[in-house]
């Protein structure tokens, strides 16, 4: 994707004024309520007209106020999952789902409606009228409807809010698979840093109508170690779980890790909070923690009383969060050897 945006839109007291270029395939938009996220989506999709500016997608000019270009929404092939589902009330679930699909030329229909409905767990609802759906069901139908239109770019406005975690983590990997398989780029609004990291590569941070920052999702997560309320989480791909007593051994790079959670054969993605890693100068004695990894310090970052330590453990990389005092006490500097201790229960399987 190559999305170039430089627009300005004025609404009563609110002014949106952003200009950015996105090349990443999956991009998140993050920002407090009322910061202009939905407005941006409407502008991109052609549902609102900017006061001035330019929008270009993959080299094609979709809007240009000086050249008086304004491609209508239906020709932009930009899919939108609205914050409120806006399902067609006179059609059943199936007809809603297939609305865009039927309007997509045959060769561009790259997604299997049946499979999608199964993943979204709406396959048993297909013949139902949409007015009798629950909130979460509506949201899933809206999500499916947009994806099936096989657009060139998908804009999603909090598509997963209102879904329980379990469902969310069933849907996210599927979406990731589909979007990368068909190289459909994605602009994703969410209030959840967690969802953001799982779905987006890069994040635009909005505040009061302006783009305050743009940074890799990974970086945003690291910063949250400093400013956020929940801290940084390592995402690890662990493979080949084997039972060992009550626990499970996973392969991570060159070493084995001990986890409480079982996983699927092959690769599994686990989350490990930076705060869950404790560092020791020497190998500790009897501990309730199951994983004791010798590591080398690769770097130190962070400000104030939260310090991030980047560790290299036998090929793998981990971020650990500690306090400044510990830096002094454990004599942590680049190249130092430390022992990282991780409880088997600290790993949280995402998918």
């Amino acid at each position: 994707m190559n999305l170039d945006v430089a627009v300005r839109k004025h609404y009563g007291g609110f002014q949106l004024d952003v200009s950015f270029r996105v090349t990443e395939n999956r991009c998140g938009i993050f920002g407090p309520s009322g910061s202009g996220k939905s407005t941006l989506m409407h502008l991109l999709a052609g549902l609102l007209e900017p006061d001035e500016g330019v929008i270009e997608l993959a080299g094609e000019t979709l809007f240009d106020s000086t050249r008086r270009i304004n491609v209508p929404p239906e020709k932009r092939r930009i899919g939108v999952v609205f914050q409120h589902s806006h399902l067609f009330p006179h059609m059943n679930v199936r007809r809603n789902l297939l609305y865009g699909w039927r309007r997509t030329p045959e060769p561009q229909r790259r997604i299997d409606p049946e499979a999608l409905a199964r993943v979204l767990q709406i396959d048993h609802l297909l013949e139902r009228g949409v007015n009798s759906l629950s909130g979460g069901e509506r949201q899933r139908v809206a999500l499916g409807r947009t994806i099936l239109a096989c657009p060139r770019l998908i804009l999603m406005d909090e598509p997963l809010s209102g879904l329980d975690e379990e469902l969310k983590f069933q849907i996210i990997p599927y979406l990731n698979k589909v979007f990368s398989e068909f190289a459909v780029p994605l602009l994703f609004i969410s209030h959840s840093l967690h969802e953001m990291r799982l779905m987006a590569e890069e994040v635009l941070v909005f505040e009061a109508g302006r783009m305050q920052q743009r940074l890799p999702a990974e970086e945003l997560a690291r910063r949250s170690l400093v400013t956020g309320s929940r801290g940084y989480a390592n995402l690890l791909t662990l493979s080949d779980p084997r039972p060992r007593g009550d626990l499970w051994l996973y392969r991570w790079g060159g070493i084995d890790l001990v986890l409480t959670e079982p996983g699927a054969a092959g690769d599994n993605v686990f989350e490990l909070a930076a705060k869950d890693i404790t560092l020791f100068k020497r190998h500790p004695e009897a501990s309730s923690a199951r994983n004791i990894l010798p590591c080398r310090v690769e770097g130190i970052f962070g400000v104030g009383n939260r310090i991030g330590v980047e560790l290299a453990c036998n090929g793998g990389r981990l971020i650990c969060q500690i306090v400044p005092d510990s830096v002094r006490e454990l004599d942590i500097r680049q190249g130092a050897e430390v022992v990282a201790v991780i409880k088997a229960s600290a790993f949280h399987r995402l998918y």
Binding site: A45, L47, P73, E74, H86, P89, H90, R103, T146
Partner: protein
């Protein structure tokens, strides 16, 4: 009570034909005009609306007179119609035209009111899903204004059943050919002692319109069911 003469039966049959034909023929146009007025930005909109409303504002007799000027042999369209061998004046076609013109503003108004209540965001959603304007028109606007269209049709049908002024001028009052119920009633009321027969015909009118009304309700309820909870 309903002792109808054979010529009354003819009038009833003619009336039903005229009302149905006028209604069905007008619906596509009425829908288009309403769409134009609600969704399309164009400068002379007020003028279009004024013209559509004309037949409502003018006394039906005047409307009939104007239609005569338009469709008559020496009228504006007369030569054209003659070339096409279409006769409007003094035929049932004339009655249909008269009813259609007189009922048209009612139809348009009703459809408009329904269209104006459609959630605009649904239209936007359909467009982001790749629907062109005419596609959105057919798949979203048309079904969602279905009830309003039905309401307009009922209104127009009823109005056609009662249409007198324009019809009598344009179609003439030829028993068995163009004499619809209102014309027959008029004759009866102007005959001393004809009141009873007039009343019978009124009742027939009422019964027909009632049937149409019930049919409308039934269909409309279907539309509504799909949009509740």
């Amino acid at each position: 009570m309903l002792n109808l003469a054979p010529q009354d039966m003819q009038a009833i049959w003619l009336s039903a034909q005229v009302a149905a034909a006028a209604t069905l023929l007008s619906v596509p146009f009425g829908f288009m005009v309403a769409y134009l007025l609600v969704f399309v930005r164009l400068p002379g909109k007020a003028l279009v609306e004024g013209v559509v409303n004309l037949p409502l504002v003018l006394p039906p007799v005047v409307v009939g007179y104007l239609l005569l000027l338009l469709f008559g042999q020496s009228g504006v369209l007369g030569p054209l119609l003659q070339a096409l061998d279409i006769r409007i004046i003094f035929t049932l076609k004339g009655a249909v035209v008269a009813s259609a013109v007189v009922g048209f503003p009612l139809l348009v108004r009703s459809i408009r009111t329904g269209m104006e209540e459609i959630d605009e965001r649904l239209l936007l959603a359909s467009r982001t899903l790749g629907a062109r304007w005419w596609d959105t028109l057919l798949t979203i606007i048309l079904p969602l204004s279905g009830r309003a269209v039905l309401a307009g049709m009922t209104l127009m049908f009823a109005r056609s059943l009662g249409e007198f002024g324009a019809t009598i001028i344009l179609a003439g009052n030829i028993p068995g050919v163009t004499q619809t119920i209102p014309l027959a009633i008029y004759e009866y009321t102007n005959t001393p002692g004809g009141d009873r027969m007039a009343l019978s015909l009124c009742l027939v009118s009422i019964i027909i319109s009632f049937a149409v009304l019930l049919a409308n309700e039934a269909v409309s309820r279907k539309f509504r069911q799909r949009a509740t909870r």
